[in-house]
Amino acid sequence: MKAVDFDYAQPATLDAALELLSREDVMVRPVAGSQSLGPMLNLRLAQPELLVDITRIAELQAIRLDGDRLTIGACVTHARLEDGDYPDVTRGVLPSVAAVIAYRAVRNRGTIGGSLAHADPAADWVNVLTALGADVVIAGTGGRRTVPMTDFILGVFETALQPGEIVAEIHVPALSDRARWGYYKVCRKTGEFSHATGAVLIDPARGVQRCVAGATSGKPVVIDGPALFEGGCTEAAMAAHLAGSPAADDPIALKTHTVALKRAIAQVMS
């Protein structure tokens, strides 16, 4: 249970970090809260030669309001999002979701950007930010680009990040006062990763009627439109939406995903 002998740098600026991350002579990797990478290092599932700690870069710690959207720096921790010391344009979605990620000791160090970059299909932000319609701002030595969540997560532990790039910030659009939100995770034990996640957003002001099925052993499955509401969330309907993912062929997984989404839908219909 000991990591390989890696080197470590803790740059103070984004430019310095990107410079280090673009090195091609060593196997280099960013590290934020180390709450996912730490276990992988200890288990030697990851064997980098150089880790670049990005948590001392001030701009990655910032949360700010840009018009009616919230910009969250990649290194903002789950605990800070839980505690809510920011103008919450999501009317409680961000703090309520943050509060059910793992355990407080993990939330104190784990970051929203690390969670997205890690891209575990069962991770909370992966599914919730997809449902909210967030965008991810990616930074590299060549500049910045903005990618919608639906194009950022490509599969299991797979993202749109290219070598040398990092998640710099996340843009979360504001919900209207008529928005309704439902979220349900099927977990074997409180705080452990979800086996099936349902996330639902209805926001008439933005014309959004969105269901997301997460933890499907693939990227989040987005189902837009009214079809699943009003009793439409059946196993048959879910089998069609999950077609191609391992969950569709496993009767237990299919039932679990149907239940998770049904319960999330029930929260917005009540």
Binding site: G38, N42, R104, A105, K189
Partner: protein, 162 residues
């Protein structure tokens, strides 16, 4: 020793410490093997069991998945550093009175996590205490005594405050 050793300076239980550490050394090993603070226990070493929970700048964290090198400039508190802490003192008495420990392996992490619950969630009912403590595993007690101990401290504090 690693060719990549870095010099860090941090506070451990109130004492300034300068040390050369291999970046791969996690904080739990640093505390146990270099500082000889063996109150911090290591169970799973991948973040799941909570035995290694300590405070970094006053906030609970897993010392097994936090690297010592990342704690340069920080203040680390282990169970040994909570000897004179009022909440930890109340918790130690309550854990003993309510049979909140048996072998004691989980107890250092339990105390650190429980202290956070008492300070952050003075309104917690028993299900909320269980949820907040779900990241700390105990193989002996069945948790009832642990929950009762935390309940006792929260209730006593609320009575004294009210």
């Amino acid at each position: 020793m690693s060719a990549h050793a870095k010099t860090i300076s941090l506070t451990v239980n109130g004492t300034r410490v300068e040390a050369s550490v291999p970046p791969r050394q996690h904080l739990g090993d640093f505390l146990r093997e270099r500082e000889l603070l063996t109150g911090t226990h290591l169970g799973c070493e991948h973040g799941v069991c909570g035995a290694c929970t300590i405070l970094i700048d006053g906030e609970p964290a897993r010392s097994c998945i936090t690297f010592a090198v990342a704690c340069d400039g920080r203040s680390v508190t282990t169970v040994e550093g909570l000897d004179d802490d009022p909440v930890a003192t109340e918790l130690r008495e309550a854990f003993s009175a309510e049979h909140g420990l048996q072998c004691g392996f989980c107890t250092p992490g339990m105390l650190v996590a429980a202290r956070d619950v008492v300070l952050r969630r003075p309104d917690a009912d028993n299900p909320a205490i269980r949820t907040a403590m779900s990241g700390n595993l105990c193989r002996c007690t069945g948790y009832v005594g642990i929950v009762n101990a935390i309940r006792r401290v929260i209730d006593a504090r609320n009575t004294n405050a009210g």
